[in-house]
């Protein structure tokens, strides 16, 4: 049995863009690196998902929820004044910030809630950094009448008080995590411990396209609605495909959602923008693809921020949602095969972009998404007039106004 598995791993990548293989590998990345207690749970999830993904009724239900509950499709908006300010290519924004709950995260939780229901699970758990995925999880749990526990680093609870209260209003229990660095990665460790303990009743709703197989695949599939809509909207509004796509990358779910439906369109360049923090050269950032190396964490092999001894390094970013030392395995693979270019925007560039978009377009972006805006403005100038760029505006920035005010020295 084992030798056959290994064989299939090596012959499965005929088309490098058609991952993952049966065991969740994108080239050497991905896989199913979990403790034995959880293997049965992830295998069961993989089986259930494979079955449901082949069932048109499942997708019909998913798209019905996205239309009537989330408010999709989200518009593709031409940011005219931002384009003028950047002085080059046209900048279009894919408005995921207009989704119910204010970010792309809900596309995934709607899909995973359907999986949980099909599996007969009564209890949802989730990890969250900025709180957006926690809110999106608490939202679907409320809607389906499920118990919901959200693990959140105690540092992040301090940084993201409004989202913590939002989750509580929705009926979720927010569990503070005080181990390790007290941020997103530790929240994920704690969620994995809970899952191992309550594996019979509990569905673990991972918030990004990372973790053990099948999460990177199923989260990508749910988020790919972003790219499918954007592709269609480009054809209708511009009359052709865009020259470039830009999205921020923490775990990478909004980016893979935008990129995936365009992967075979070789004329479309793609840029994933990581959190450059205080600058890549300072080491104080959250950019494993730009300044990390392959390793294994949280169920998958991928690029990580790790020290020479294999310990996971502390990360830094102005945005809690990108403050994670790993990245989804499909991004690791797309980097290696050079289909996507991964770059970084610093905290400072990000804050400029945050203010620019707010003042020029009347849209307050999430700090996460502001990384993509920052790079897109640079890229627009480089590409020059007559070109088109689509930026994923993955979330709105209401949650961040306290952070921005504090940085600008303003007391609210």
């Amino acid at each position: 049995m084992l030798s056959k598995d290994v064989e299939s791993r090596h012959i499965s990548n005929a088309d490098p863009l058609e991952g993952p293989d049966r065991l969740g590998h994108f080239g050497p990345y991905g896989g199913m690196f979990v403790g034995e207690t959880l293997v049965a749970a992830v295998e069961e999830l993989a089986e259930v998902y494979e079955r449901l993904a082949a069932d048109p009724d499942f997708w019909e239900e998913f798209h019905r929820d996205l239309k009537y509950y989330v408010g999709r499709p989200s518009p593709l908006y031409f940011a005219e004044r931002l384009t003028s300010a950047a002085g080059g290519a046209d900048i279009y924004l894919k408005r995921e910030d207009l989704n119910h709950t204010g970010a792309h995260k809900v596309n995934n939780t709607i899909g995973q809630a359907l999986l949980a229901r099909h599996m007969g699970k009564t209890r949802l758990i989730a990890e969250t950094g900025a709180g957006q995925h926690g809110v999106a999880s608490a939202t679907v749990a409320a809607r389906m009448g499920l118990e919901c526990h959200v693990y959140m680093g105690s540092e992040d609870i301090k940084r993201q008080a409004p989202n913590v209260y939002r989750m509580k209003l929705l009926g979720a229990r927010v569990v503070p995590v005080t181990s390790g660095t007290k941020t997103l990665k530790d929240a994920m460790n704690e969620a994995l411990r809970d899952w191992a303990t309550n594996v019979d009743t509990t569905y673990y709703m991972i918030g990004t396209a990372a973790g053990p197989h099948p999460y990177p695949k199923l989260v990508r599939d749910f988020q790919s609605v972003i790219g499918r809509e954007a592709r269609q909207q480009c054809l209708e509004q511009i009359g052709r495909l865009p020259d470039a796509l830009v999205a921020c990358v923490g775990g990478g779910s909004n980016a893979i959602g935008l990129f995936h439906p365009f992967l075979h369109d070789s004329e479309v360049a793609m840029y994933g923008v990581e959190a450059g923090g205080l600058g890549l050269q300072t080491g104080k950032h959250a950019a494993p693809l730009s300044d990390g190396r392959p390793g294994v964490l949280h169920g998958n092999r991928t690029y990580l921020m790790t020290d020479a001894g294999g310990q996971i390094r502390d990360t830094h970013s102005v945005s809690a949602g990108l403050d994670y030392p790993g990245v989804g395995p499909e991004h690791a693979w797309l980097k290696d095969i050079k289909r996507v270019q991964y770059v970084a925007a610093t905290d400072e560039e990000t804050l400029h972009a945050f203010h620019d978009l707010t003042r020029m377009e009347g849209i307050i972006p999430a700090l996460e998404s502001s990384h993509a805006i920052a790079y897109a403005m640079k890229l627009a100038a480089e590409l020059g007039p007559g070109k088109q760029i689509v930026v994923n505006l993955s979330g709105r920035g209401d949650k961040d106004i306290q952070t921005v005010a504090a940085i600008d020295g303003i007391e609210l």
Binding site: R193, P294, G309
Partner: protein, 271 residues
Amino acid sequence: MSRISQVIKTRQASGGKIVVPYLVAGDPDLGTSLRLMHALVAAGSDIIELGVPFSDPSSDGEVIQKGAERALARGTTLLQVIDLVAQFRTTDPDTPVVLMGYLNPVEILGYEQFVNSASEAGVDGVLLVDMPPTESPPLAGMLADAGLDLIFLVAPTTSETRARLIASQCTGYLYYVSLKGVTGAAISDTDSIARNIGLLKTFADVPIVIGFGIKDENSAASLAKLADGVVIGSALVQKIAGLPASDAEDTEIEASVSLIGAIRKRLDQTG
């Protein structure tokens, strides 16, 4: 025959059960770990599981997490842990040592350097909790070539088909996880443990030890009856947590491993 298999065989020949303590290397410092290892042998341990500290131990409960944090606060690295085994070997050529931890430090060091250094230092086996058999082939092959055992876990959630696969890949001993949860949690269902071990014994060629949740002589004795031996982790790490950060007195070292001596004694009495 590997040193692990030899030791287990010898113990079983006299009708005894295997006692396997787990401690975190570098907790509270490497010098103390070395003294603890020798003290554990003196207390009647058959095999030592030496925990390699990792920043993100997602299969471990709070006690072992804290042990790892103490070790990492001192900057303990995988290479230092391997060197600790080499030092242990200078005076103890007989007691098998198994490195237990997570895959990332091994990946970052590189499989080849890991296997070579571990083998040279006198390590006997490796257990990586987040490396299931399906992901193990490259490393498994290198460990086998170097004569090191590769130990896997079987959990209460493991299907029979999968348990058969794991048993066929596992060398040295098979580690049965007594509960659904993390290290140090409470055991609630001894009947299902007995049932699962009974099934495992019908096809596993390697001895079976039970771990997770063994706290004292009583829990050790009741579980040892079901298998070939027991692993004691969190309960021991909890005792070690009470040691001073360095230069513990000999009496303090002895006191912190007394639990293992008590378990050895009880298992020898009850056979």
